[in-house]
């Protein structure tokens, strides 16, 4: 991300917009600047702010006069008056920041199949997490903190030692050079992103071990982690995982609940079903 210094009028609106706190007003130059190391290329400043096309020189003059008179501005807080943000072409490894941080940009150049996954949202069709299994989404950096891949690797390596199964369609798994060790590509380790999700699956008897491990690793890595933990219901009820979480003392107020309305409808899937039936 770039702030066009010829356009910026240092109004400061973008400072609060940035989820990473990477934008600041350089008072010596009277322009907003981006701390490139802190910026995760999420695009919130560029996409999330509305813009006007005002003349920068005129705005600066008005601001100067108002400042002199101690007038307080009350502009709309999500507007860049001159459209000063510009999205620059990114290359790897910096491109990986955008892939994992901007929710509306897709890039096929790295071979990663998107950032998000279907998790158990399509479990009624995919049966990704089956009876007796537990799925985990271990999310790093969100809200508002960010994470470096080196810290994610610390977790994936620790999980790999416990023999967990990494979800093969997950973007982080795609970045592993070895799923047996949890090693990630070395060229991206120092890159910072807004968030990432490691997805694994275990047997029900491994839940305590995994959750303890996540907490233990989190002590060593400087970010925030939040875990989603999923299971398949039997006859509409979860009689196994919820009681276990209660026993372990975990609080879980919120859930994403798959209502079981999905089914395979693609032609190839229907043919496959027919073949199995006959």
């Amino acid at each position: 991300m770039v702030i066009n210094q010829n356009k910026c009028v240092a109004c400061g609106n973008c400072v609060a917009i940035c989820p990473m706190g990477a934008i600041y007003v350089d008072q010596t130059k009277n322009r907003a600047r981006i701390n490139d190391d802190a910026c995760v290329e999420c695009g919130t400043c560029y996409r999330g702010m509305s813009t006007e096309d005002l003349n920068p020189a005129m705005v600066r003059t008005i601001r100067k006069a108002a400042k002199l008179l101690r007038f307080r501005f009350e502009p709309e807080p999500d507007v860049c008056p001159t459209g000063a943000f510009e999205m620059n072409e990114l290359e790897m490894p910096r491109l990986i920041r955008q892939i994992f941080s901007d929710p509306v940009v897709e890039h096929k150049s790295t071979g990663i199949k998107g950032r998000g996954t279907e998790e158990v949202k399509t479990n009624d069709v995919s049966l990704r997490v089956n009876t007796g299994e537990v799925g985990y989404t271990i999310e790093f950096g969100r809200p508002g903190v960010g994470v470096r891949f080196s810290d994610i690797q610390e977790m994936t390596q620790s999980l790999a030692k416990e023999g967990v199964t990494f979800e093969k369609n997950n973007p982080i798994t795609h970045l592993m050079t070895d799923t047996a060790t949890g090693d990630l590509r070395t060229d991206i380790l120092q890159e910072k992103i807004l968030s990432a999700i490691v997805e694994i699956k275990t047997r029900i008897d491994q839940v305590e071990l995994v959750l303890d491990l996540v907490e233990e690793v989190n002590e060593r890595i400087d970010t925030v982690i939040v875990v989603g933990i999923s299971t398949r219901c039997e006859d509409g009820e979860d009689k196994i995982l919820a009681p276990l979480l209660d026993n372990l003392g975990y609080y879980y107020a919120r859930a994403k609940t798959n209502m079981g309305l999905g089914r395979a409808t693609n032609k190839i899937e229907l043919k496959h079903k027919e073949a199995v039936a006959t």
Binding site: A16, I17, P19, C42, T44, R47, G48, S50, E52, P75, E76, P77, D78, V79, P103, V104, R115, G116, E119, V120, K121, T122, N123, V125, S126, T137, R142, P143, G144, V145, E215, T223, V224, V226, G228, S230, R232, C233, D235, G236, D238, A242, L245, Y250, Y251, Y252, A253, R254, A255, K256, T257, N258, M259, G260, L261, R263, A264, T265, N266, E269
Partner: protein
């Protein structure tokens, strides 16, 4: 794509927060799914949603090239048609409801429509259980949100977290949530104006303006 699991709050805090979303499964039921996703949103639009999204835009979106007069008259009306017409590829589409009644009625019609696409409800565990019971269906799978692990003390207070985490992708920064709350406290913006500003920042359209309004009002009351 949306991310609604890790909203901050206790169970009762989700009493006005129901997100119903449809998501096709790649390779399983994503063929010809776009008309179904549009139809799903059309059904949702009938039940007075608080917000809707198609993964690329919500019902209130940022505007480019505003006239200077916009500072006195911003567009705050949700545009459902833009969201529905904007569905152009297989992905998550969603609607946010502020009451159980609306959510249940919508879910019932979605069940009757029988799209064959996975439908999820993101709310409190209890709310979802009740929704399934009311609509006469059995839950297939459930993903619980465990609490945030924050051993290094990065996270702000619960008021800011409540407002910020309603954009699960983190596009509503802590600083912006704090700024809007402060602007309301200082009488520089109405609650509605502050909420609309936050809603615009969430590109997936899952930010819940009704809950945000309540959280801001509660935060202002606590101060008095």
């Amino acid at each position: 794509m949306t991310n609604t699991l890790h909203r901050y709050g206790h169970s009762d805090s989700f009493r006005d927060d129901y997100i119903i979303f449809a998501i096709p499964s790649r390779g399983k039921n994503d063929e010809d799914c776009i008309p179904k996703l549009k139809e799903f949103l059309k059904i949702c639009a009938k039940y007075n949603p608080s917000n809707m999204g198609n993964g690329n835009r919500g019902s209130v979106a940022p505007e480019k090239g505003l006239a200077p007069t916009a500072h006195w008259k911003r567009n705050e009306s949700p545009d459902w048609d833009q969201v529905i017409e904007g569905v152009c590829k297989a992905g998550t589409v969603s609607a946010v409801f502020a009451s159980a009644g609306q959510a249940h009625a919508c879910l019932k019609e979605v069940i009757d429509a029988d799209f064959g696409i996975s439908v999820n409800v993101s709310t409190s565990v209890e709310n979802a259980r009740r929704a399934a019971e009311t609509c006469g269906i059995k839950r297939h799978s459930v993903e619980y949100a465990l609490a945030f692990n924050d051993p290094h003390d990065h996270l702000p207070n619960s008021q800011i977290l409540g407002l910020s985490t309603m954009c699960g992708h983190g596009m509503v920064s802590f600083n912006m949530a704090r700024k809007m709350l402060d602007m309301v406290r200082e009488g520089r913006r109405t609650t509605q104006q502050a909420v609309t500003t936050l809603v615009r920042l969430c590109p997936c359209g899952v930010y819940n303006p009704e809950r945000a309004k309540r959280l801001i009002e509660e935060a202002c009351r606590e101060q008095r």
